[in-house]
């Protein structure tokens, strides 16, 4: 493999990571039933559970002063799972909370995102509608928040 091919491959790998992370970020916010309903629109390929979905903890970290050295703030419950498609792609699912089924579905979606055959349909039929819902909820919250922004006005006292 020459240098140019190597760079190309590196770029493809990092693009894939960006795509997988973007999909995971959307899926982590979705409800289990929503993901499941959207997945129904796809003819799923055979897959196996590589790792039984399990619950555990992560230590959440903050930074001293918001921008300094890290410190341990407290833990959170997390679920994780791993699946392998018949075609070999391995997907991982991680999410806050104790919903193992959700972790398993995220893992399945992550595997599909990596598959040439399913990347397109999982994006259009699962990730895109979930992303639209997430954005709509965020915009609604942002609009409600914006209405509580203070507009200062100066009161003129005396005769100047």
């Amino acid at each position: 493999m020459n240098a140019r091919d190597k760079i190309k491959e590196g770029q493809a790998a990092s693009e894939m990571i960006v795509r997988r992370k973007a999909a995971m970020a959307v899926l982590a916010h979705a409800k289990t039933a929503e993901i499941s309903a959207h997945l129904d629109a796809i003819m799923l390929p055979p897959y196996e559970q590589l790792r039984e979905a399990e619950n555990g903890l992560v230590m959440l970290r903050g930074r001293i002063g918001g921008d300094g050295a890290p410190f341990n703030l407290g833990e959170a419950t997390v679920s994780r799972a791993a699946v392998r498609l018949g075609s070999g792609e391995i997907g991982f699912g991680y999410t806050l909370g104790r919903d193992r089924e959700k972790a398993r579905m995220i893992a399945l979606c992550d595997a599909l995102v990596q598959s040439d055959e399913f990347a397109g349909s999982v994006e259009t039929k699962v990730i895109a509608p979930l992303r639209a819902g997430l954005l709509a909820r965020r915009q609604q919250r942002a609009a409600e928040t914006a209405a509580t922004k203070v507009d200062f006005y100066t009161m003129v006292r005396g005769e100047g």
Binding site: I64, G65, N72, G74, Y94
Partner: protein, 367 residues
């Protein structure tokens, strides 16, 4: 000392049965659901998550229900649950600068970039009980306005640009992040350990200590530089995946206290800072935490340690309400043997006293 006492099993079993019935309340009143506790007693849930040191709304709601609303009992239950699960690792430090802000106020800059955003707050309410809430109240839809895409930088970032405030100490590559759930406390404790301790510390204890510093016991001239509440993204560097995996968002409250100056012959004077961070909307908690954090930096900043709030051993050893409850409430356990020996000693002392009374010549000689 207390010794194991056999017996009472049936009484204990029946007491727990009775407790379960009392917890349920009157049978013709509907039972509360966890979603109701999580949604409608949200700040109670936030407190149980913060001091239970476990972010899981549903579990905190369950703990509150099981504890009949006793917050410290609920916190205890959450802490005990935490011990049942394996830890996968630690997340990337959250970036509060990228918070999707729901509330953000500064008491030091009126025109802070990004604006003063009140969000859902009790501030400016009249604190009059609202009879409407007693039955079937349907609130109005919230007002909406066009959201601005302007960033909301932390006030400390703004002051920091001109060097007016000290910078946060950066991470040291050599030093692991201290974790008091893994190693027992030892002193002196670094600021990372102190903040972890304060983050799970009792809100009432920290409030009282912070208040004491304002009243003059370890005064440090604080301004509420900024308080913000909102959602931050969490990422976990999962080894087998090969990159930091998004886990979803958590709600946090952050408080930046801006305090009076430090400076030296070689360093220009600048403001100092105290920091508070907690799960959920926990404003009183984070403000108190920031006051105490700043006070505990006395040694580092060359201030005289005179008040309890500046004494890290005192603060950190007494901030944990689960530990404190354990020690206070253990007094309820049978101390029959201990007490018998005290009783014996007291009887002996009293006998000696009355014997001396009865023989005044001896008493005089003793004097």
């Amino acid at each position: 000392m207390y010794v194991a006492v056999k017996g009472g099993e049936r009484a204990i079993e029946n007491a727990h049965r009775l407790l379960a019935r009392e917890r349920r309340g009157e049978a013709d009143v509907p039972e509360i659901a966890l979603a109701q506790i999580s949604g409608q007693l949200a700040l109670a849930v936030d407190r149980v998550m913060s001091e239970g040191s476990l972010y899981d709304r549903e579990l905190a709601a369950l703990a509150i229900k099981q504890a009949r609303g006793d917050m410290i009992e609920a916190i205890f239950l959450v802490r005990a649950f935490r011990a049942t699960l394996p830890r996968f690792g630690a997340t990337e430090p959250v970036d509060t600068g990228k918070m999707q802000v729901r509330r953000r106020i500064s008491a030091i800059f009126k025109d802070i970039p990004g604006g003063q955003i009140l969000g859902p707050t009790f501030d400016y309410t009249h604190r009059l009980l609202d009879p409407q809430l007693a039955e079937g109240f349907v609130p109005d839809e919230p007002a909406v306005a066009e959201a601005s895409s302007a960033p909301t930088p932390r006030v400390t970032d703004i002051l920091g640009r001109d060097g007016l405030i000290e910078s946060s100490s950066p991470a040291s590559a050599r030093q692991a992040v201290g974790d008091l759930t893994r190693e027992p406390l030892s002193f002196p404790a670094d600021r990372d350990l102190r903040l972890q301790n304060l983050a799970r510390g009792d809100e009432g204890f920290l409030l009282a200590l912070g208040y004491s510093s304002q009243r003059g016991y370890g005064r440090n001239h604080p301004f509420a530089g900024e308080i913000r509440f909102g959602e931050v993204e969490v990422e976990f560097p999962a080894e087998e995946v090969g990159f930091a995996v998004p886990l979803g968002t958590i709600e946090l409250t952050e408080c930046q206290m801006v305090n009076q100056f430090k400076g030296s012959a070689t360093e220009a004077p600048c403001f100092t800072r105290g920091y508070g961070l907690a799960f959920g909307q926990s404003e009183r908690k984070t403000m108190s935490m920031a006051l105490v954090d700043r006070a505990l930096r006395a040694r580092e900043l060359g201030e005289e340690v005179l008040a309890p709030v500046q004494d890290e051993e005192f603060v950190m050893s007494h901030s944990d309400n689960v530990q404190a409850t354990g020690f206070v409430e253990h007094l309820k356990l049978p101390h029959y043997v201990d007490f018998q020996s005290e009783l014996g000693l007291l009887r002996k002392l009293r006998d000696e006293f009355f014997q001396a009374e009865a023989r005044p010549e001896l008493k005089e000689a003793a004097e």
